[in-house]
């Protein structure tokens, strides 16, 4: 699948945004100190801005941007529609939560709204994940890893951001850095498990089955319908060299997960907490973008079978 910048930005930015909002919500629900009033307010602000940027980025790949509003109508069947709705619904919840926590820190309303904001955030991420996880023609997406992985990456990236904000507010990352470290570790395990899974998968279909011949019939492409690359090949036929992919995987593991784990632990231990938690965020962002690029680039689409690819 072609890794379009718009979707990479969307999923990465919203991951940070909704992950952060989730932690803020839980933070308040768990009884954040009154001193965290501004931290929560600022955090919700950051989350809303990042989410908005992500959503704007996602409209960039639309053929008809002016019609984007239509995307909210089909929530009964479409995960994309649900994602849009969830994202939109999360705005008032986030604002109400921030307002409640600002006006009455630690109030039952603020704490309940914190839980609701966390659920709405995770729900939105889940909807995003399910857009991919529901696509049967793409085995690298349509599996039991995709949805939990998206949630784990959101929680992980949100935690790094939470830790950074916490450091900015209080000079120390405290528990938030532990969450980030834990998140990084979880994300690392999840990613490895995901790669192990997709690498071990056998092709979900063969060319023989794609052209209606009995399973096992040897079949090879002779001529494609047209010589020039077409939409299907551009969009669904993206290919990446195995060696290149392996390199990127290592980069994603090191930059996206191992380094944030290390920096979060440093922040937790109080070693240059601001620098460490900033680096954790930066590495997570870079690493997750790489991971997301690979998530697309290494995804194969069944329709590419018709052009002689294995899927």
């Amino acid at each position: 699948m072609r890794p379009a910048a718009s979707v990479l930005l969307l999923t990465t930015l919203t991951g940070f945004a909704y992950g952060l909002l989730t932690w803020l919500g839980l933070y308040v629900a768990a009884g954040a100190p009154p001193a965290a009033r501004l931290l929560v307010l600022a955090g919700v602000g950051v989350s809303v801005i990042l989410a908005t940027l992500g959503l704007i980025a996602s409209t960039l790949h639309l053929g008809r941007k002016e019609r984007a509003w239509r995307a909210f109508s089909q929530w009964r069947s479409s995960w994309l529609s649900r994602e849009g709705l969830a994202a939109v619904l999360t705005y008032p919840i986030a604002l109400a939560f921030a307002w409640a926590q600002y006006r009455a820190p630690g109030s039952p309303a603020a704490r309940s709204l914190g839980v609701v904001a966390a659920l709405a955030s995770l729900g939105t991420v889940y909807c995003t994940a399910m857009i991919y996880a529901s696509l049967k023609p793409i085995r690298q997406w349509h599996n039991r890893h995709t949805a939990p992985d998206y949630l784990i990456y959101a929680l992980f990236s949100g935690a790094t951001l939470f830790a950074l904000l916490h450091t900015l507010a209080f000079g120390t990352a405290a528990l938030a850095a532990s969450l980030a470290a834990l998140g990084a570790f979880g994300a690392l395990i999840a990613k490895l498990a995901y790669w192990r899974h997709v690498d071990a998968q056998s092709p979900i279909a063969t060319l023989a089955s794609a052209i209606g011949l009995p399973e096992g019939t040897p079949a090879r492409p002779l001529d494609a319908p047209h010589f020039t690359e077409n939409f299907i090949l551009r969009e669904m036929g993206f290919q990446i060299a195995r060696r290149h992919a392996a390199k990127l995987r290592r980069i994603a593991l090191v930059v996206g997960f191992a380094l944030p784990l290390l920096f979060s632990l440093l922040a937790q231990l109080g070693t240059f907490p601001l620098a460490s938690s900033s680096l954790a965020v930066a590495c997570a962002a870079l690493g997750l973008l790489t991971e997301r690029w690979l998530f697309f680039a290494q995804a194969t689409h069944v329709s590419a079978l018709y052009y002689g690819r294995t899927v």
Partner: protein, 958 residues
């Protein structure tokens, strides 16, 4: 007269889609919001009926005409893409006069008045001195009855159409054997065939009728066997694919015949009734009549009647003719039945399947099994129709019995230098099976069969310069006396057709015209006039050399070929080599007729012909070529085109179509003749004829009664009817020629007998190749020794979605094939270390080219192939300079020589069939080598760009 700055050829902006078609044409029909017009397609040569929809004066949709006998409502990719040809950027827009060096592409736009003045003055001067200095050669033309008649009345023998480089082997072998031919003059019996054998038919002739027919066979579960080196197209759906080595089909057919003879599974009754199998052949080695048919005093052929034990007229009814034995003629000479000679030849061990298997690349067991299957279907599954009929001997038959083995053969047979004999071998196989025009077999298309060999001898100059030729310039020689040669036996025609080099060149040798004109020089040729043919590119063997000769000059700087006129609708590669360009209309912008005098739309069910009508009115300054030729003929005062006072007889082609009479009552169109429009075939001109055609959907067909549908060569009701319609002059039966006496006449001359002898240098050649029974020899190019340097056969196929050079300027078709590959067998590729998409050198004895490879399994192990006419020369066809057709598309023609190996110049033999002059495209042998990895990502050779640059004058621009 201030010249405008040079600009590229004026074209319209590419439309966003076909919906925008018509940007510089407009509907010539009433501009009601929706209307339809019925006309005839011309995206290839099949002549399908089309229904053209117009909406608000623009082309909306072209579909097949459901009532049309050729395509019955279907339409191929090319036909459907016709809507885009109407907006092609390659369309010429105005008459052009060359201003730069020939081939540079520099022209100035001129008026039609000036263009007509130039061409008429030139032709008038030629005609006054030596009319043969005009050479008129037309391409995939469907107005040959007009252009040929023009040439005849002009008085030049130097006329032909594209048949010489297309399929003359099929036409000549068919006409000289059975009085019909594959494709144009015959078709398989799709309704009853149970076994269908396709020889050398890829995606080519013909298009929709074969596909329709194959589907009918498939629906019935009939078996389809394809003999072809490449498994694509029709071969793809064949039930059995026989990957025969190119050029060995004749040998394979002999092996089939061998098996059938060996098993005694032939139709002897058919042979003695309808062929010359029982005719006695004089056995008098060294004598002047050796090998000719023995005749009695009345001139009728003799047979030996076993019932009476005496000689009898071979056409007598009721005799029991001997097919074997040796008999003594009244003059004491011996004679043997033709069949005996045939059986002796093909029963020889050299034609046993085991003897030919390796050479053909087909296992002996496969050949034997196929022979069994052929015999099984022919003799154990006959088709018996409850249809009484009367044969030419007056016998009434209660049934029509047929052998449901149908054969179709085309380019893969014809494009070899042994193609004439191979095609004749196939016809002999058909005759032995009784599978000619019987139910389930191959059938004649009306107006065929014709008495063998199917036409008059070629016309020749008679009387003063400017007098019409004695007959049409193309014809069928029956012996040496009919050749067009001088006292020394050397060719009179520029292309050497009907000379000892190619005696039966009944379609001419268009592929040799440029080379021979270059050699002959201005004494013999003044004006080379091409219509609709791409002789500087894909229609030329060796395009690079053709281009060089077209632009060559002598010491004084004068062009070796003094004047070149090109008439075409599109900016082909050849246009740049014209001195004068006459821009034609597209097929949707003119009248045409698909005439019985040329190649009509008749079928086995009866005769038919069709018209084209102008659906769009061009806004370009172009004229239909046929109108132009008629105007030229009128201005020149040619007989049949001008009256006694020299006044033109016709104002347009449409006028000519209706009023011209070739013979009394016979004109270009056979339908709706006579004042009442009821005449069929014959009848006085009907001024309402075109209207009647239009009302009838653009065509006319006459359905033969069921009694006349089979055995046409000997079906008395058919023969009488055909004579009444003017198709044949006599209703005598047509005797199929298992043994070809005309060929023996040429051979006798080569042996020194008779008044017309070949030049010494050609005698052995003529003696060898004019065998009255089919022979097989290795294709001439391959026979030359190359020390095994070129071990691979190389052929081209025409893709179904492209017609030669006409596809690449079509916005839709070029998306399918904007570039081509050289295909080879996977095993061969592995051996040569070649992988898919690698660049490889394809090298022949005459040059090399660079192409990208693609591997496959469905191909003869020692054959490489590619699609025909995809590569283009930079600047042509209105394409942008970056077009893949220029950069990666290639022409195999670049490594095909027009001469046989080690020969060049006047004495050189053309790379053609020695009998018919058919261009031997598929004799090519090559070697393949992988290019160095750093090779540039483009084909070679790439000839320099020469797009048309047209100077326009302000007044004409205004």
């Amino acid at each position: 007269m201030t010249g405008m700055p040079p600009s590229v050829i004026e074209g319209v902006e590419a439309p966003r889609s076909g919906a925008a078609a018509g940007t510089d044409s407009e509907s010539s029909l009433p501009l009601s919001s929706k209307s339809v017009a019925y006309t005839t397609c011309y995206m290839c040569a099949c002549r399908c009926g089309i229904k053209v929809h117009l909406e608000n004066g623009r082309l909306r949709y072209i579909e097949g005409n459901r009532n049309h006998p050729i395509n019955r409502g279907v339409l191929c990719a090319k036909g459907s893409a016709g809507i885009m040809t109407a907006v092609s950027p390659a369309r010429l827009t105005t008459p052009l006069k060359r201003v730069g060096p020939r081939g540079s592409g520099s022209f100035e736009a001129i008026s039609w008045d000036e263009a007509m003045r130039i061409v008429t003055e030139r032709l008038a001067a030629i005609r006054a001195s030596d009319p043969s200095r005009l050479a008129l050669f037309t391409g995939r033309d469907q107005s040959q009855s007009l252009t040929g008649h023009f040439a005849r009345m002009f008085g030049t023998i130097n006329y032909a159409a594209h048949g010489g480089f297309c399929s003359v082997n099929m036409a000549a072998a068919g006409l000289y054997s059975v009085g019909g031919a594959f494709w144009e003059f015959g078709e398989p019996d799709w309704e009853y065939a149970q076994l269908f054998l396709l020889f050398g038919v890829a995606e080519d002739h013909d298009s929709n009728p074969i596909k329709l027919g194959l589907s009918r066979l498939k629906a019935r579960g009939a078996k389809i066997v394809s003999f072809n080196p490449v498994r694509t197209g029709y071969s793809a759906i064949a039930d059995e694919f026989v990957a025969v080595t190119p050029g060995t089909d004749g040998l394979l057919v002999f092996a089939l015949i061998h098996c059938l003879l060996e098993a005694g599974r032939i139709d002897t009754e058919f042979l003695v009734r309808y062929t010359n199998a029982h005719h006695l052949v004089i056995d008098d080695a060294g004598g002047a009549e050796h090998g000719l048919i023995a005749r009695n005093a009345q001139g009728s052929e003799l047979a030996f009647d076993r019932a009476t034990g005496s000689l009898a007229s071979a056409s007598a009814t009721g005799i029991d003719p001997a097919l074997a034995g040796t008999f003594v003629l009244p003059d004491g000479r011996h004679a043997r039945p033709a069949f005996a000679l045939l059986a002796e030849r093909y029963l020889a061990a050299e034609y046993a399947p085991e003897a030919v298997a390796e050479r053909c690349g087909v296992a002996a067991a496969t050949i034997r099994r196929l022979a069994d299957e052929i015999a099984e279907v022919a003799f154990n599954q006959p088709v018996v129709l409850e249809q009484p009929w009367t044969d030419a001997a007056g016998r009434r038959h209660t049934h029509m019995v047929g052998r449901p083995v149908a054969i179709h053969a085309m380019r893969g047979i014809s494009a070899h230098s042994n193609g004439f004999h191979t095609c004749r071998a196939i016809h002999v196989l058909q005759m032995l099976l009784g599978a000619i025009d019987t139910p389930g077999s191959w059938r004649y298309k009306s107006p065929y069969p014709k008495p063998i060999p199917g036409g008059l001898p070629p016309g020749r100059a008679a009387g003063a310069p400017g007098a019409p030729l004695t007959a049409a310039p193309l014809g069928c020689p029956t012996g040496p006396q009919d050749l067009l040669v001088d006292a020394q036996g050397e060719a009179l025609r520029l292309d050497r057709a009907f000379s000892w080099e190619a005696p039966l060149a009944i379609h001419g040798l268009m592929h040799m015209v440029i080379a021979r004109a270059f050699e002959a020089g201005p004494q013999k040729i003044d004006t080379l006039f091409f219509f609709m043919s791409n002789m500087a590119w894909n229609s030329a063997m060796n395009p690079g050399e053709s281009i060089r000769m077209l632009s060559a000059t002598d010491e004084q700087g004068e062009y070796r070929i003094p004047f070149v006129v090109v008439a075409d609708a599109f900016a082909s590669e050849t246009v740049a080599y014209a001195d004068l360009v006459l821009p034609d209309t597209t097929y949707l912008e003119r009248y045409d007729c698909i005439s019985l005098l040329d190649r009509p739309i008749g079928s086995a069910h009866g005769p038919g012909d069709a018209i084209r009508v102008p659906v769009l009115k061009p806004k370009r300054d172009v004229r239909p070529f046929q109108d132009v030729i008629i105007e030229i003929a009128g201005r020149l005062g040619l007989t049949d085109f001008a009256d006694a006072q020299g006044q033109p007889l016709y104002h347009s082609y449409a006028d000519y179509i209706v009023r011209h009479q070739r013979a009394a009552g016979i004109g270009p169109l056979a339908g709706f003749r006579g004042a009442d429009g009821r005449g069929i075939g014959r009848g006085e001109p009907n001024p309402e004829q075109l209207r009647r055609y239009i009302e009838n959907g653009g065509f006319w067909v006459h359905h033969l009664p069921p009694e006349q549908l089979y055995y046409k060569f000997a079906n008395q009701a058919y023969l009488d009817g055909a004579r009444a319609m003017g198709f044949i002059d006599s209703s005598a039966p047509i005797v199929l020629q298992l043994y070809s006496e005309p060929l023996q006449r040429f051979r006798l001359a080569a042996e020194g007998h008779g008044a017309h002898l070949p030049p010494q240098r050609l005698r052995e050649r003529v003696r060898r190749y004019f065998d009255p029974l089919p022979i097989w020899y290795a294709p001439l190019e391959q026979a030359a020794s190359h020390d095994g340097r070129y071990p691979l056969h190389a052929i081209t196929q025409r893709p179904m979605a492209m017609y030669h050079s006409w596809g690449s300027h079509n916005a839709w078709l070029r998306q399918i094939l904007p570039e081509n590959r050289i295909y080879l067998h996977r095993e061969l590729a592995a051996e040569l270390g070649i992988e898919d998409e690698d660049w490889v050198w394809v090298e022949s004895r005459s040059g090399r080219l660079k192409a990208r490879a693609r591997t496959m399994s469905g191909v003869n192990r020692n054959t490489v192939w590619t699609w025909n006419a995809i590569g283009k020369r930079v600047g042509a066809w209105g394409l942008k300079r970056e077009a893949p057709e220029f950069r990666r598309g290639f022409l195999l023609n670049h490594v095909i020589s027009e001469f046989l190996p080690d020969e060049r110049g006047e004495a050189a033999h053309s790379n053609s069939d020695p009998v018919t002059g058919q261009a031997a495209w598929f004799d090519l042998t090559v070697r393949l080598e992988r290019c160095a990895p750093d090779t540039p990502d483009e084909t070679a050779p790439r000839l320099g760009a020469n797009p048309l640059r047209i100077k326009r004058h302000t007044e004409s621009a205004a």
